[in-house]
Symmetry: C2
């Protein structure tokens, strides 16, 4: 059984890689430098970065990494793999969190690293056509120089690829303002398992000619084909960004503040993040050098960001909104600060962005990425505390001996997306069994999703049924069988 995922056996219908296969790929791609990396030992240092995911939880045994530089090459590679029954794992920046982009056994790694041209940019509409391997930050810089911005922003932007972002339907920090990739992606070029190139690479905001097939590939995690190019709608880059952090007494007030913010600064609101006192304390104690501002003690914190065209107006609007929120008979905001410059704005964001690392540093951290209706969002944290206390694992009479040390919640409130972190002293079966499947059952009862934005990958196929009904899962299998009849695309992932 491979580490870090559900137990599976290698699918015996897949061929084992032979020297003849390698020879064939060398003929196809080998005239270009770094296009074929082969070693008999999967632990070879040249293969290792492709066999291990970045949180080092998953590790495959591939002997071969291919880096085609054109869609035609991707097509030739897959047509051959299909004919030869060779399994393939597509890989972008390898920054996923669920083991979706590394091999489970000996699958060939098909990296998008050399598919990195920007094919087209329309400076009227802001529509860009980029190949799958363009790094998100490079893409953002490219459109940024032309007055636009990527609608997508996430921590890994310096290394993740736009193709991988689309394949995993990455969410991130500004879904609230710019929506999901299901709205921003206007077209895709995809190579199917048998090498067929499907050209859905339109640059149109509206197109109602038949079923919107590209949507199937957004979030399919490479299991239906390889995305080779993306047409993306990018919004104009507006010059004014304002950031504030606010102390709030209750989760109900966090929600009321969100409603009020959408009313009074709605057109410029670009992020509404929240975290609890435990998250703040973890950042202050675990990552004290990070320059985290300790502004005030509070049960909840909200980071609110605006983006607009006029700095003076935006700031006036935000200040007036916060004044009003503090002046209410029952104030929505107890305390707060608006960043005075970009350095302070950066420090505010750092606090929010460091929570995940602070929790990881504090112990053995169980991380869950849940979405649910906003009103019940924080109930999961409270219920998890009560549940683990009742199991005798947390908040006992002798807290210094509790197996679970911290339970904390934070996330993208505007998206109904909670990151629940349970920090134990060690990863133990006792703790694991107390949390899982309890957390998934809780999510199902509250009509939530067991993977809001991280995807299914190798980690969660057995949990999909907590968020999808049996008929949906049956249809998914039907689509997979239709597009990839031999099942060679990213096997053991997404669907069980």
């Amino acid at each position: 059984m491979p580490a870090g995922g559900h137990p599976v056996a290698r699918n015996a219908s897949f061929a084992r890689l032979t020297p003849q296969h390698v020879e064939h790929f060398r003929k196809l791609l080998g005239h270009e430098v770094n296009s074929v990396t082969y070693a008999t030992d999967p632990d070879d240092m040249n293969l290792l970065p492709y066999n291990v995911d970045w949180i080092k939880k998953y590790r495959g045994q591939s002997q071969l990494v291919l880096k085609p530089s054109t869609t035609a090459q991707v097509s030739q590679v897959l047509a051959y793999c299909h004919a030869e029954n060779l399994a393939v794992v597509p890989q972008g920046g390898n920054t996923g969190l669920v083991g979706g982009s590394v091999p489970v056994f000996d699958e060939i790694v098909l990296s998008t690293g050399r598919l990195n041209a920007i094919r087209h940019f329309d400076d009227v509409s802001g529509i860009v056509v980029a190949e799958a391997g363009v790094v998100l930050e490079s893409l953002d810089n490219y459109v940024g120089e032309r007055g636009f911005m990527c609608p997508l922003d996430l921590g890994a932007k310096g290394s993740c690829h736009i193709g991988g972002n689309v394949a995993t339907n990455a969410g991130g920090l500004r879904v609230l303002r710019y929506g999901s990739l299901h709205g921003s992606v206007l077209g895709l070029e995809v190579v199917l398992a048998d090498g067929t190139v499907v050209d859905m690479l339109r640059t149109l905001r509206k197109d109602n000619t038949g079923y919107d097939l590209k949507q199937l590939f957004i979030g399919s995690e490479g299991s239906l084909g390889v995305i080779t190019a993306v047409s993306l709608l990018t919004p104009p880059r507006l010059p004014s960004t304002q950031v504030g952090i606010f102390a709030v007494s209750t989760f109900e007030d966090v929600q009321r503040l969100f409603i009020a913010a959408r009313r009074h600064v709605g057109e410029i609101l670009s992020a509404f993040e929240f975290w609890d006192r435990t998250s703040q304390q973890l950042v202050e104690t675990q990552l004290p050098t990070a320059g985290t501002p300790h502004l005030f003690d509070a049960p909840f914190y909200v980071l609110l960001e605006t983006q607009g065209s006029d700095a003076d107006m935006d700031r006036e609007k935000l200040e007036r909104f916060i004044e009003r929120a503090m002046d209410e008979q029952k104030p929505l905001v107890e305390n707060g600060a608006i960043a005075q410059d970009q350095t302070q704005a950066r420090a505010f964001w750092e606090t929010r962005e460091n929570i995940s690392d602070a929790a990881t540093t504090a112990g053995a951290c169980y991380k869950y990425d849940i979405s649910m209706p906003v009103p019940v969002l924080y109930d999961l944290v409270n219920d998890a505390k009560a549940h683990l206390k009742q199991k005798g694992l947390y908040d006992s009479a002798q807290p210094d001996q509790d197996p679970v040390r911290f339970i904390t919640g934070y996330g993208h409130l505007g998206d109904g997306n909670l990151h629940l972190n349970v920090v134990a002293r060690d990863f133990t079966p006792e703790v694991t069994q107390a949390i899982e499947p309890w957390v998934y059952e809780w999510t199902q009862r509250h009509q939530g999703s067991v993977s809001a934005e991280h995807g299914v990958g190798f980690m969660k196929p057995k949990y999909v049924s907590y968020s999808k009904d049996e008929h949906s899962i049956r249809i998914m299998h039907g689509i997979k069988a239709m597009l990839d009849p031999k099942g060679i695309m990213n096997p053991y992932k997404v669907l069980q």
Copy 2:
């Protein structure tokens, strides 16, 4: 051959309706008033509104209209139709423009008219769950009373159903600001051809657990199943709306104005519509009682609308933007006016909204709904003029005898969506053959879509291949065969 569409023969594998069938449906639904409408004569006045589309171009011969009031009833109806090989056409408000919602032959009409409950509303996130038959305007009023608005707005809102809107992926006036339904629709409940109820009715902004199947049904025009309920993300209703009309010299300047508007009033911009001089003249001459403001003569007109939280700031921002656009060395705007009150704003919008009717009134009007990259958008109008002139049909030495009188273009510039109207004296084969497939071939050459927002329906199945590659069409057929193996759902439509 039925009127108004491509020639097809009735599919002989479908059963003919028998008294036993009708009896069965009466047992299923007949205890509720108006749930079963049956007549042996399809021209019976009770059936006629369901057999004829609203532009009266398409006319079917159904003898039976069913109006289930629950999802369970829809399931029972379809399970029976599936077992008995009875073909079905789902119908919402019957406001479509491509014959998608009326029978072609004797298909049973399954109306969503009694599926009209609003099931749930979350006033933190603005997510509403409505049954398919809720009229768009009613839905907008419902969420409006709670401080939100439908992200979708179109002329037919007083009669179209939200289920039909989703089934046709309706676009309309505010896609520019609020995006397409592929982003706003968070969940669907769908009944498949065999009666299976697929529950994808989540109220989550983020959910990455497997393939996003609901997307297939958005824009499938009832050919894959019946949408019975919709979960929709609605944005906050902001209190300030400003509208202006501006005279612009060239289409290049229209584009420059659009770019500038996104930079300087981007966060409040909610519509950017344009039309040409011919459109304006048609409105002024054909619908002179409509209170159309004749403000100025110009080659192009732009209607710009903003929506925001602060009327004073919005107005100042808009006025400053327009002043700047007029003060440039080469002014982007020749002349213009910002509405002083809601009555004037309404009159401005009326001009834009009356163009379609004015063109229809002026003669035999060929209407095309094309999307393409913005820079080439208006080239289609110029090229159509040159093409029809070269054919001797337009702008000849004896213009009062030309078969084609007006060629005009208008539409949603921000969406790259052009409505091309060719007004002839009469519908003649000579004119038809001169325009089609020329207009579709032109669209294909420019990477456009032959149906931006109206859909395929019965009118355009043979033109889908101008906008979709052969592999996409093959996959569409595969999905249709998987979900509706007997092909009973809305036959003769969407796919050929």
